[in-house]
Symmetry: C2
Subunit: 445 residues, 2 copies
């Protein structure tokens, strides 16, 4: 289908291409334009009916939005900016270079320009930067019939009409009423009679992660945003929250692999940026590994007298690291989903202690059978390795289970206490345990 339309455009069968495109969803049209060469994309874009063009524009990549804005007339820009949902426009402006922002602002109305500037100043990831101003506001004295007529008149331009907001003359939020409630209620009831009071709302500076939690907890499709005086400023809708949830998860994945989080797509990120996001943690962890090295250095005599011990180091360090990373991941994820909080630390310790005993003993037994019966390793070395394994697994799981909680207590992001950090810490501990036990068992001093 896409290839067919691209072919039509290449052979200049524009009318036919336009006809085919008009059957498509605007998200898919945007995807198609991304795949065309920019010249054809621009031709096709300008052939779209205006209302569809606006929707397609909102779904294009920043690069193509910029290209189009540079190419079209001021009148066309003005139309697109007028028709875009306010929060989409803010998203677009935030990503554009200053010169393009200037061109766009030149083509918006004075009053809107003021609002835009206000919105651009909200911190990234705050409620203010997520909200839209296109909501339906009602008064509590209205009847259901009046409200429905009002919505009919203005509803088409609002981002959502499914939740309406009831305010007094000072724009203080007094209640909400869903369109469902309006539709099923009698015409002559007043809004005051049917509205929900105990409204849950957020403030402009609240963090998007907390807001996403509210949506998940209460199954909202929209949530009002108020200022310090509880005046309604805007609303946040579920489609933006779905993106926030994925963004927050991506951030955690990145942090848990010891990188600075990135919002850009991998393939679109420059090599230098990628390197920059990775180098700091790699350096920090590399330098921490010096400590592990110094433990080996300290036990060099043990290693010199029984060089065979070296062969089991990777297994013990690796198993310890993996065991610790499992616990850390479960706890970090549990905290992100608000299933585990700071008060649960003792429960976590007790649980990890029992799990690690079971897991440690099984790993150790399997290993003993392999070493002693199959590889005929000296029994004292086999015992050293297996006892070390149990101790290391227990310590690793306790470290992995508690460090993320301790990090949170210290107001650090628990996600930094994930696999790479735990592995580095457990490496040092593992070797210390291993060589200490070896010294005892093998009678080296």
């Amino acid at each position: 289908m896409k290839d067919y339309i691209i072919e039509l455009m290449n052979t200049k069968k524009y009318a036919q291409a336009r006809k085919e495109v008009l059957e498509m969803n605007s998200v898919d049209i945007a995807e198609l334009l991304e795949e065309m060469d920019t010249n054809n994309a621009l031709i096709l874009f300008r052939m779209l009916p205006k209302d569809i063009a606006v929707e397609v524009f909102a779904n294009l990549s920043n690069e193509n939005q910029m290209y189009i804005i540079n190419a079209i007339t001021d009148k066309e820009i003005s139309y697109i900016m007028d028709e875009l949902f306010f929060d989409d426009m803010i998203d677009i402006l935030e990503e554009m270079p200053a010169i393009i922002v200037k061109k766009i602002l030149k083509n918006t109305k004075e009053e809107e320009r003021k609002l835009i500037n206000q919105f651009l100043n909200y911190p990234a990831n705050s409620a203010g930067s997520l909200m839209t101003i296109e909501y339906v506001g009602l008064k509590k004295e209205m009847t259901v019939k009046q409200a429905m007529e009002y919505i009919k008149k203005i509803g088409i331009d609002k981002e959502t009409i499914y939740t309406c907001y009831v305010m007094n003359e000072n724009r203080i939020l007094e209640g909400i009423v869903s369109l469902r409630k309006l539709v099923v209620s009698d015409d002559d009831k007043t809004i005051e009679e049917i509205m929900d009071t105990g409204v849950i709302y957020v403030n402009t500076f609240d963090d998007q992660e907390e807001i996403a939690h509210l949506f998940k907890k209460y199954d909202f499709i929209a949530l009002p945003v108020v200022d310090k005086e509880e005046r309604l400023l805007g609303i946040i809708t579920i489609d933006d929250i779905v993106d926030v949830i994925e963004e927050e998860n991506t951030e955690d994945f990145h942090k848990m692999a010891a990188m600075e989080p990135s919002e850009e797509e991998y393939l679109e990120t420059s090599v230098l940026t990628l390197a920059r996001k990775r180098i700091l943690w790699l350096l920090a962890l590399m330098i921490s590994a010096i400590f592990t090295g110094s433990i080996i250095h300290k036990f060099e005599d043990v290693l010199t007298s029984v060089v065979a011990l070296a062969a089991f180091m990777p297994m013990i360090m690796g198993t310890g690291g993996n065991a610790g990373a499992q616990s850390a991941t479960l706890i970090i994820r549990g905290m992100a989903l608000e299933e585990i909080d700071l008060n649960d630390i003792l429960k976590v310790i007790w649980k990890e202690l029992r799990v690690s005993c079971i897991v440690g003993i099984i790993l150790s037994l399997v290993n003993f059978i392999r070493l002693y019966y199959f590889q005929h390793v000296d029994i004292r070395i086999a015992a050293t390795v297996c006892l070390s394994l149990i101790v290391v697994v227990i310590i690793a799981k306790l470290v992995g289970g508690t460090l993320p909680i301790i990090a949170k207590t210290l107001k650090l992001d628990p996600a930094i206490m994930a696999s790479p950090m735990i592995t580095t810490i457990v490496d040092a501990v593992s070797l210390f345990v291993y060589f200490s036990i070896a010294t005892k068992f093998l009678g080296i001093a």
Copy 2:
């Protein structure tokens, strides 16, 4: 607030407690009941007005739902089951032991019982298991006015009325119309004139992950589910998809830390289950580490002649593992978000190659300065360590970047190629590189 109500219940001030509770959101009431002792919770639950009781019930934990069902009368069960949204009821039944399911089914109407049995047979994580049958169906001959009157009559029982589904006499889906469109359209237009045709839908057996992608891509709030003959069976709503997104993310976090994924909350999972989910991967990775051990064994002579080499092993293995895990995480996450696909493998290799050269050289330089100028390590050893670092980082990033894509080509879940697996592979490679270079540089043979 919660403590106050619990106190009221403990001192048997039931009327006062009831009054306080009725001010609360039903999600919060459910949370409150979870914190009370079960006896008080049951008393308070039975004092709630029926419509609120149903909403609270849907938000309780399975344990408390079971406890309540066991304690209340058949008539009360029957009421709750009637009023629950169909998909919530299915979710509850899926988690209950057979004896409770029997008790519940006894109290539902015959026709509903059939439907329930059909729903319970859809595979977990399929569109069928997510959908609800409570949607608004319209006919295309209806006028807007007729449609609105129809919705007014039946809308209160439907999970969502914001998207309505237009079907012909054989229940084949012909189009959708949003309530917004209905509200802003003229009364005497027909549904056919205002409905959207090109409807995007899914089949009952489609996987929830793909469905979540559709919601994210098109910003839907509901999506129709059809059978093979394109007959409408039900709809999936955004609130359930938000849960699916978090579930899929949790699954990836667990897999990427080498565990079998779990849907249960950590604190509610038994120690044995936790141990079982972790032991297999730990065993597999432990046994793979034997290979790394055998590399050390092979180079034992090198190690014996220059024991100082041992001290740098953890740093080289650790840095390699971390560097590989960074790349693997970026690629796995990129594929999960459908930003990277199988055809991008060459782009990924080229990108990782450049990033790893930059990162490897910086790490190596920092390390050389430390070793040679500060710790006065023999220059040949310092050179061995630093050259190894560069080679290991490059290999690690190429392995980390490509293995997830290769896994996907082989129809495996890319998430298993995360940190633990990459670390285990890179450990072996690192030591081989390190000792090979050492052999050359230090003239040991």
